[in-house]
Structures are given as structure tokens and as C-alpha cells.
């Protein structure tokens, strides 16, 4: 829905970025678990799995960046103020946009964290 010529924020837009983190986390874990089980040949490298996780990581980071970009632009367009305790729809939007931005930053960092094991572990040991 559009208000003030921009997307109206709500609780779903707020949790979109951490939801992407959740997807990335489950995808990485399930794929690695599936690839490594039954755990018969633990010294075999799992390049394909690692590449797939890296690919999904890139997509997820991009989506989170898009969410962050939208939140940032709309928050800046509205003056980018940190004060959002007024009784106006603008203050509500400002609050949700800034909180979305913060959650997107956290989710970005968390997705990067989640990808680090792929760089370190090359097999199923």
C-alpha cells in the first residue's frame, strides 16, 4: 500500500529481513545435513554444497540490501530523524523505517556470520 508516495510499513515489512536470515540459516543447515548424512565418507569434499550455500548467501544478502535501501531512502526522504515519539502517521512510519533498517543491518551481519563455516569446512568431518 502506498502512503506519502511510498510503501506503508507494517509489522511484516519490519520482520522481512530477519525472516530472510531464518531462511538462509535453515537452508544452509538442512543442505549440509542432507549432504553429510548418512555420514559414510567424511573426508570427501563437498564443493557443490558449499557453492550452493554461497550462491544462496549472495541472493539473501542482496534481498536484505534491497530492504535496507528502501527503508533508508524512505527514512531519509522523511528527514531521517531519530525522534519518532510523536502522535502522527509520519512518526510511525519513521519509527518503522528506522527499525527496519536496524534489523536489516543485524540480519546482514548474521547472514555473513552464517556463511563463515562454509569457508572453513571443506568436508563432512
Amino acid at each position: 500500500m502506498q502512503v506519502f508516495g511510498k510503501t506503508q510499513d507494517n509489522l511484516w515489512t519490519l520482520v522481512a529481513a530477519p525472516t530472510i536470515w531464518g531462511f538462509h540459516f535453515l537452508f544452509s543447515y538442512f543442505l549440509a545435513a542432507y549432504r553429510c548424512a548418512p555420514n559414510d565418507d567424511i573426508f570427501n569434499t563437498i564443493g557443490g554444497t558449499r557453492a550452493a550455500i554461497a550462491g544462496v548467501t549472495a541472493v539473501c544478502l542482496l534481498l536484505i540490501l534491497l530492504i535496507a535501501r528502501r527503508a533508508w531512502r524512505e527514512w531519509r526522504a522523511d528527514g531521517g530523524g531519530y525522534s519518532n515519539n510523536q502522535d502522527t502517521p509520519e512518526a510511525r512510519e519513521r519509527f518503522l523505517e528506522f527499525s527496519t533498517l536496524l534489523l536489516a543491518a543485524l540480519s546482514f551481519a548474521a547472514v555473513v556470520f552464517e556463511t563463515l563455516p562454509v569457508l572453513v569446512f571443506w568436508d563432512c568431518r
Binding site: 563437498i46 502522535d87 512518526a91 527499525s99 536496524l102 534489523l103 543485524l106 551481519a109 548474521a110 563463515l116
Partner: protein, 848 residues
């Protein structure tokens, strides 16, 4: 609807004292708690919340006594104060009760008291559901806790790992069954509370309270209730598998027949780790209310707290395997969980910094609640730091199952939860009883608790690193941890003495000690509108809010509320009422009639509890009778108390605003409750499906090639019949809405019958192909998923029958169609369940 933008508090008649007195008399009568023995039929948040809180504290004290027995036993090496078996029961019940009977219920209990006050609401939308939750908690809690007096308490650790707990030779008796069935029952109550609190936070805010003006406590409640919704169902799924193995020998966790004990660990910790944050966040929420009051300024960085709450809520679901680092999973898997365990420190740390910054920029008033908050932050930070250590797999391999972990978890839970709760007790006691607790006793209690706690748990870091294992009833002198353990035991008793002082302070006779002055801490949020002593109506009139701290920032606010110059200052029709508002901006949408006192929630809880308790002792006939009575009592409760057609379509709620009295579909709170409940239900179902795919992953051949599955024919027939039942439910809703009542009734009757046929067809598949659930984990998994889905079909059939009866009785009409709207929503979820069930059980094996 009339214009809602003008919220200037006015109303000429409110200046007439006689008018106000008459309004107050009506409100007082409508909201009064029942007298005499009928008192126990009360459902108002002011009664139920207090019972709930008191009972949680009683369980906490009982579990604390068990901890003291444990510490007495461990005070000296090679002690034989208690038997190993009693020691096992004591530490298991200590952990179980502290988590399930204190930490989680106290959140629900306190939220039931505080949330309506914080939102200026008269009550939460489903008071009888809260009462039902309380009675379930009472019955289940007494059942679990009482088992120790019969020497039958669970004795295998609070996480009940199989095969220790599934093999009769290791754990004879009823201990694990009491744990599984008693706690499953309480988990149902927790889910009920989660539904109540989510709908309460989103829909019962006062007019004008936009999302950005919501008290931080409400944000935390929203996040935590959401977490309960996704964390508890996997444990319920695990409990179902576990109990089927214990009662009927279905081999889910038995490796000799294809099962795997690690599956239980997954399902338990998918619940168990978010649980830690479910416990921690509501306590921190209390801190978020206390800190601004004593800094005498608004919280600094409101958005950052919301970031912390929401961020922690999500990431806490990615930590569960850090309890399973030593189960032999591939290192890459451990890496993912280690990464998330480190990442969660970011949002957790952010809120600590926000509190410190708020205190630094304010003028801090020294007080007992602030003392407990300071102690909480200090202890929690220590627990957080050891948490970052044990989140690293290599360190954890060393520390796992030692007293180092015991020290870590107690620093986190006592620092992060018990100290904030103690702060909350001192802060909110005037709201409950109209009087402050003693400052002097509070200070003594704090210093005894703080010193005793650190004395008890700091040495455990050393004991653990020196090699002392957890859950072992004694230790040899040669281990060299005798002194450390003696200090720990002394500290534990000092800590317990501190708690007893608080108990004394709460219970001591007050004589004619005067009531506290109103808003005794000079706080800014709505809960302090309460009068000393409080009235059971909550607020005199439901205010229009324009600020985060209305008492501080809105001029003449308390006076306007008290003189009924805001909304619903009267109960002209002698009904309990509150206002429903929109999610984003708190626009008034409906005047909701909330139900009053009733024994039905208690009766329903008694029968439901009886069902679980009879099953524990394998009294099957009694179990089935109790199940029937429980279903009937719930239906009687719903029939009499829900979706009541009002005597007029709308009413004037004050300030020239007219609101409808009845709303259905997505505009009704009942629809929201059904939606939220079914999200939890779907999560439990996914827990069972997770089991299927888990076995699919770990076994090279699953389904085993030698076994036939449920076939394709009967699942397909069931799928078709379920599709018809779904369509009739949906069609009945549309027909009824369009005024074609006759057709709607035919569809409801047909749907009820087809749903039964569909369930039967689904069950017929594995029956006719001769799948024996005790033979191997594959048939057992097929059966459990089939039974789950079929049971939902039967419940859906009952619901359609109920709607038909409502329609025939004139309690459901085209304009008043809450029942069929909610049942149609239920059927959407059943539809999805059927698609996953049939797809997984019948078609996937064909495709693979």
C-alpha cells in the same frame, strides 16, 4: 463511523458528580469479582493474573528447596545425605519446575496482570481463556511437582534424553510419563496464553496508541508470545513421539528399529533454546519499564530496543544445536549454530547499552527496584560472557556437562530473569496491593541475594573446569573441589535466605498501614493510572493516547481519565466492555463485549487434565471418557459465551464515537485467535513432518524398500474427500454470508459427514497395507502423521456440526457469522495439512 480525529477529552455530563457516581456504581457492579465460593469462577485479569503469579512463586520456592537439598548433598565430598535416586529426582524436578512451572508461567501471569493496565484496556480479549490456562497450570503443576512425594518424580534430567528414559530397565515407574503428559498439558496452557497476549497487544491498545507509542513491555510481550507460538509446538510434537514410544513401543528413538535418539534432542532443543530467551526477554521487559521511571526520562533509543527484542526473537531459533555439540554432528553443521550463537550477542548487548545510556543521561533515583536492576545487569553480563565462550564448539567440548555450564546457565537465568523479576515485584507491588514493600527489607534481601548468588555460582566455574561433572550425586575428595563446593553450598543458603526475606516482606501482616500515594514512583506509563487500592475495572475511562509516557506528557491526563472524560466511562447495558483498535494506528474499530465469571474454564481444565493424568497410568477407558467430557465442556463454554449476538448493532462509547458491537472475519478478535492458534498447530505438525524427513535424511533407504507404505489409492481418495470438505466449509461461509441460509446448512451438514469419511479413508490406507507401527520407525512415522491429520478432520467435522447447530438455534445469522468464518479459516489450515500429509506419505516415495 464518526470522526475519530478529535480526541479532545470532553463531555458535558461528566462534570455532573451525580452522573459520575452512577457510572462508577454500574462499572463497579459489572466488573466486581464474584463473592463466596463463586469467587473461583472469576476470570478478570486482576484475579486470574494474581492467582497465576502466586502459584508460579509457590512452585519456584518448592523447586528452590530441591536445589538446597542438592547443595546440601554436594557440600562435602562422598556425602550420603540423600540416595542417588532421590538426588536424580531432586535435580531433575528442580530444573523442570524452574523452567516449566516458574520461568514461563510467571511471564504469562505477569503479562495477564500488567498488559491490560499498560494498554489502558479493561481486560484482555479472552479472559476465560486465561482462566482456562491458569486451571490447566494448577492441575498439571501439582501433578508434576507432587510426584516427588511418591518417589515417582522424573529422574533423568530436565531434557529427558532417550534411550535412558525410553527403556523400562533404566527408568522404571511413571517418572518420564508424568514429565511428558504433565508438561504437555501445561504447554497447551502456554499456547493459550500466547494467543491471548498477541491478540491483546495488537488489538486492545487504547485509541491513538500507534505502534511507535506502544510501551516497550508490550513490544517484548508481542515478541515472546510469538516465540512461544513457534517454540512450544516442536516440543509437543516430540512429546507425542516420546509418549507413543513409552506407551505403545513405537520405535521413534530406538536405533535397533531405525529410530534415532538424536531426533528427540533436536525437537527438545528447538524448543529449549528459544525457551531461554522466552524466559529472559519478559524479564528484561520489566527492566525496560523500570529504568525510564528511575532515570526520570523517556527511554533512549526506543527503536534500538525494538531491534533487540525482534532480533533476539529470530536469532534465538538458530542456536539449538549448541546444546548438542558433542553428539557427533559434522563440524560444518556445528559451525552454523556457533555462528548464530555469537550473532545473538549483538541484539542482546544492544539493549544492555540502551539501559546504561538511559541511566547515564537521566537523573537516577536510588531505589530497591533499581538496586535489583543493577544486580541483574552485572550478573547477566558475566553469564553472557561465559555464554560467548561455550558458544565456541572446541571450548564447549571441554566444558560440556561440567559445573562450568551450571555456573553459566545460572548466571544467565538468575541474572537475566530472577533479579529483574525481583525488581519487578518491588516496582509493581503497589499496583497489585496498593502498598509499597519495605525499602529496608528490600535492601537487605538484595545484598543477601547478590552476595549469596555470587558465592554459590562463581566457584562453580572453577569446579567445572577442574572436571566436576553435572548430575552426579557426589564427587571424590581427590578431585580437589571440596572447598569450592562448600563455598557454593553456603552461598546457596545465603541466597535462599535473601529470597525468604522478600517472601516475608510480601506476606507480613500490614495492620492499618496506609496505602501508597497514587503513581508512587512518579512513572509515565498507563499502568500507573491505577488507584490505590485498585478498582477491578482497571481504568475509569479508556484514554486517548498521544504519547509514549502519557502521565508525564499529556496535560491534565489523570484527571480526565478519572472523571470519565474519555471512552467507555459507563456500563449502561451492564456488560463488560473494552475497545478494539487497529494494529498500526490504534484507530477504534469495535466495542468488544468480554465474557464475565464462569466455572466452565475450570470444568474444561479439570476434564482435560483428567485425560492426561489417566493416560499416564494407562487407564484407557477413563481417558476416553475424560476426553469426551473435555470436548463437551469446551463446546458448552463456547456455545454459551462466544459470538453472542448483541441487542443493538452499535453503541456510543463516548466523545461522540459510535462503534459496532459485533465484527466477524478478519475484523474479529476470534478470527485472529484462530489464525494464531493454527500457526502453532501447523508448527507442531511440521515438527512431526520434520521427524519423517529427518529419518529420510539419515537413512540411505527410507522408506525401506522392503516395506509397503500407505499406498497411493486410499491417500488419494482421502485427499479428494478432504478437498470436498474444505470446499463445503468455504461454501457454507459464502452461502451464509449471502443470506442463503438453507444452502449453508446443507453444506455444513454435508461437510461434517464428508470430513469424517475423509479421515476414515486416510486411516484406511496404512491399515489396509498392514503397516505395523511397532515393527520399524517408518510405519510408526507414517501412522503418527496420518493420525494427526485424521484427528484434525474429525475436529473439523465437529466444528461444522457446531456451526449447523448454531445456525439452527438462531445464534448464527448472515450478519452474525463469527462461527462459520473461524471454522472456514480452520479448514484452510486443515487443507494445507492434508496436502503435506498426502504428498509426503503417498507421493514422495513414488517419486524418489
Amino acid at each position: 463511523m464518526t470522526d475519530t480525529t478529535d480526541r479532545t477529552p470532553t463531555g458535558p455530563d461528566q462534570d455532573d458528580e451525580a452522573v459520575r457516581r452512577a457510572q462508577e456504581a454500574r462499572l463497579r457492579e459489572v466488573w466486581a469479582a464474584p463473592k463466596g465460593w463463586r469467587y473461583w469462577s472469576a476470570v478478570n485479569n486482576t484475579e486470574v493474573g494474581i492467582w497465576y503469579t502466586a502459584l508460579s512463586f509457590i512452585f519456584m520456592l518448592s523447586a528452590g528447596v530441591l536445589a538446597l537439598i542438592v547443595r546440601a548433598q554436594l557440600a562435602v565430598p562422598e556425602n550420603d545425605l540423600v540416595t542417588p535416586d532421590f538426588y536424580n529426582q531432586a535435580f531433575t524436578l528442580h530444573g523442570t519446575a524452574m523452567m516449566f512451572l516458574f520461568a514461563v508461567p510467571i511471564f504469562e501471569a505477569v503479562a495477564i496482570i500488567l498488559l491490560p493496565q499498560l494498554l489502558g484496556a479493561r481486560d484482555l480479549p479472552f479472559p476465560r481463556l486465561s482462566a482456562f490456562g491458569f486451571w490447566c497450570f494448577l492441575i498439571g503443576g501439582v501433578f508434576v511437582m507432587g510426584s516427588i512425594f511418591f518417589g515417582q518424580a522424573p529422574s533423568s534430567g530436565w531434557f529427558m534424553y532417550p534411550p535412558l528414559t525410553t527403556e523400562e530397565e533404566f527408568t522404571p515407574g511413571y517418572g518420564p510419563d508424568i514429565w511428558l503428559l504433565g508438561l504437555s498439558f501445561i504447554e497447551v496452557a502456554s499456547l493459550a496464553a500466547a494467543v491471548e497476549l498477541i491478540v491483546g497487544t495488537l488489538k486492545c491498545r487504547p485509541p491513538g496508541m500507534r505502534l511507535n507509542l506502544m510501551p516497550l513491555y508490550a513490544w517484548y510481550v508481542l515478541v515472546v508470545a510469538g516465540m512461544i507460538l513457534f517454540a512450544f509446538p516442536p516440543l509437543i510434537a516430540g512429546d507425542i513421539l516420546f509418549e507413543l514410544e513409552r506407551l505403545f513401543d513405537w520405535p521413534f528413538f530406538d536405533p535397533s528399529r531405525g529410530g534415532d535418539p538424536v531426533l528427540w534432542q533436536h525437537l527438545f532443543w528447538i524448543f529449549g533454546h528459544p525457551e531461554v530467551y522466552i524466559v529472559f526477554l519478559p524479564a528484561i521487559a520489566l527492566v525496560a519499564m523500570i529504568v525510564p521511571t528511575f532515570a526520570q526520562r523517556p527511554i533512549l533509543g526506543y527503536s534500538w530496543i525494538v531491534l533487540a527484542a525482534v532480533g533476539t526473537g529470530f536469532i534465538s531459533f538458530g542456536l539449538w544445536v549448541h546444546h548438542m555439540y558433542t553428539t557427533g554432528l559434522p563440524s560444518i553443521s556445528l559451525g552454523f549454530f556457533s555462528a548464530a550463537s555469537e550473532a545473538v550477542a549483538i541484539p542482546t548487548g544492544v539493549q544492555i547499552f540502551v539501559f546504561i545510556a538511559t541511566l547515564l543521561t537521566g537523573r537516577v533515583i536510588h531505589s530497591v527496584p533499581m538496586l535489583f536492576v543493577s544486580g541483574a545487569l552485572a550478573n547477566f553480563v558475566i553469564g553472557g560472557l561465559t555464554g560467548v565462550m561455550v558458544a565456541l564448539a572446541p571450548f564447549d567440548w571441554q566444558a560440556h556437562d561440567t559445573y562450568f555450564v551450571v555456573a553459566h546457565l545460572h548466571y544467565v537465568l538468575i541474572g537475566g530473569m530472577l533479579f529483574p523479576v525481583a525488581a519487578g515485584v518491588y516496582y509493581y507491588w503497589p499496583l497489585v496491593s496498593g502498598r509499597k514493600l519495605s525499602d529496608r527489607l528490600g535492601r537487605i534481601a538484595f545484598w543477601m541475594m547478590f552476595a549469596g548468588f555470587n558465592l554459590a555460582f562463581l566457584p562453580m566455574h572453577y569446579s567445572g573446569l577442574a572436571g566436576m561433572p553435572r548430575r552426579v550425586w557426589t564427587y571424590p575428595e581427590s578431585l580437589g573441589v571440596g572447598t569450592a563446593n562448600m563455598i557454593s553450598s553456603v552461598g546457596a543458603f545465603v541466597f535462599a535466605a535473601g529470597i525468604l526475606i522478600i517472601v516475608w516482606d510480601v506476606l507480613r501482616p500490614r495492620g492499618n498501614e496506609p496505602y501508597a500515594k497514587r503513581n508512587p514512583w512518579n512513572a509515565g506509563t498507563l499502568e500507573w493510572l491505577v488507584e490505590m487500592p485498585g478498582e477491578s475495572w482497571g481504568v475509569r475511562s479508556i484514554p486517548a493516547v498521544t504519547s509514549r509516557y502519557p502521565i508525564w506528557e499529556q496535560p491534565n491526563f489523570i484527571d480526565d481519565v478519572d472523571n470519565g472524560r474519555f471512552y467507555l466511562s459507563d456500563a449502561a447495558e451492564m456488560k463488560r466492555e473494552t475497545i478494539i483498535t487497529s494494529v498500526l494506528d490504534g484507530k477504534p474499530l469495535q466495542c468488544l463485549r468480554v465474557p464475565g465469571p464462569s466455572f466452565m474454564p475450570m470444568i474444561a481444565a479439570v476434564f482435560t487434565g483428567a485425560m492426561f493424568i489417566f493416560a499416564t497410568f494407562h487407564w484407557w477407558a477413563a481417558t476416553i471418557v475424560a476426553m469426551g467430557l473435555s470436548t463437551i465442556s469446551i463446546m458448552v463454554w463456547l456455545w454459551r459465551g462466544t459470538a453472542v449476538i448483541p441487542e443493538k448493532p452499535e453503541k456510543d462509547v463516548g466523545l461522540g464515537l459510535k462503534l459496532p458491537l459485533y465484527k466477524s472475519g478478519p475484523h474479529s478478535v476470534g478470527w485472529w485467535a484462530m489464525f494464531i492458534m493454527m500457526m502453532g498447530d501447523a508448527t507442531a505438525f511440521l515438527g512431526l513432518v520434520f521427524g519423517y524427513y529427518y529419518f529420510f535424511t539419515i537413512h540411505a533407504d527410507f522408506p525401506p524398500p522392503s516395506t509397503v507404505g500407505p499406498g497411493v489409492l486410499w491417500p488419494t481418495v482421502a485427499f479428494g474427500l478432504f478437498a470436498v470438505a474444505w470446499a463445503t466449509a468455504f461454501g457454507a461461509r459464502l452461502s451464509n454470508q449471502a443470506g442463503r441460509i438453507g444452502r449453508a446448512r446443507v453444506l455444513m451438514a454435508a461437510g461434517a459427514l464428508v470430513a469424517l469419511a475423509a479421515s476414515a479413508a486416510l486411516l484406511w490406507g496404512p491399515y489396509v497395507t498392514g503397516l505395523r507401527p511397532t515393527a520399524h520407525v517408518y510405519p510408526a512415522t507414517v501412522w503418527v502423521i496420518t493420525i494427526w491429520t485424521a484427528a484434525h478432520g474429525v475436529a473439523g467435522s465437529l466444528m461444522l456440526g457446531y456451526c449447523l447447530a448454531r445456525s439452527l438455534a438462531g445464534r448464527m445469522t448472515p450478519a452474525h457469522d463469527i462461527d462459520i468464518f473461524n471454522v472456514a479459516l480452520y479448514w484452510h489450515f486443515v487443507g494445507l495439512t492434508v496436502i503435506v500429509t498426502v504428498g509426503t506419505l503417498a507421493y514422495l516415495p513414488v517419486l524418489m
